[in-house]
Amino acid sequence: MDPKYTNKHLLLFIYDELDAQEVATLKEELKSNIDLRLEYKELVNSVKHLDQLWECPNPTTVKIIDEKAHDGFSEMV
């Protein structure tokens, strides 16, 4: 991998934490640097697997919390 760009840069890029200017230069580098692009793809692939694991709370739990928020609201005003 190009020592100018490390896994740190790739992760910051994937999670949208890289400076705008660095994003532009990294994108350019990804076009030409095969090793870097391969590493990037591997990281993105792993991250995509994580996206399968999102969970939602039970709607009943959400409703109870909403009610608590409204109850307290009545007491406030």
Binding site: K8, L12, H49, P57, I65, H70
Partner: protein, 194 residues
């Protein structure tokens, strides 16, 4: 007019305090999956995660109502901190075993170790997802912590560093190792080799 403009968390809390009941609902909808998924990964038990999720939000409501909330648009990190502390308390007090239930109340370990190649045929998506989940739980604790906080709780690496008392480069390094380890586990698993 931009109808897609998002009202900030701080503004929603202010609106709620000013009497707009639906503002808290909006705030919770925005954060509920992040908070819940993070809790679920921490305690690895669907039913306990529901309890902790509810307790955490009720605690947040009471605190906001008291007028002491001063975190403005840092509601996400603040809420995550409350949930994380409650999850740690629950783990300590109940001495949780590292197994329990998936989203439908089934033990995820029903699937672990089941690597018979013949089983590959007919495997459904849910089982594959359970494998990935079990891989996350097998990660070293500090790697798993950063992965949960960055990917699910949506905290920045800087916020994670502040929350965990580590430096930012350490957090990024742990995230990288976590993803690399997940990749290795998937490569070794028959379901991911094709």
């Amino acid at each position: 007019m931009d109808h897609t403009k998002i009202v900030s968390d701080g503004k929603l809390i202010q609106q709620y305090l000013n009497g707009n009941e639906s503002s808290f609902e909006t705030l919770m909808k925005r954060h509920k999956d992040r908070v819940f998924t993070s809790i679920y990964f921490m305690v690895n038990d669907r039913y306990l995660a529901e309890d902790i999720f509810q307790e955490s939000f009720v605690k947040a409501i009471r605190f906001i109502q008291s007028g002491k909330y001063k975190h403005e648009d840092k509601f996400g990190p603040w809420m995550t901190r409350i949930a994380k502390n409650k999850a740690i308390d629950a783990i300590r007090s109940r001495k949780l075993r590292p197994t329990v239930t998936d989203s439908e109340g089934t033990s995820i370990f029903d699937f672990i170790g089941y690597e018979d190649a013949k089983a590959e045929k007919g495997m459904i998506h849910k089982e594959k997802v359970n494998y990935v989940r079990s891989f996350v739980h097998k990660l070293p604790e500090k790697q798993k912590e950063v992965l949960i906080l960055r990917h699910y709780a949506d905290l920045s690496f800087k916020e994670i560093a502040a929350m965990t008392g580590s430096n930012i480069n350490t957090c990024i390094g742990r995230m990288h190792y976590a993803l690399a380890n997940l990749r290795k586990m998937m490569d070794k698993n028959i379901m991911y080799t094709k």
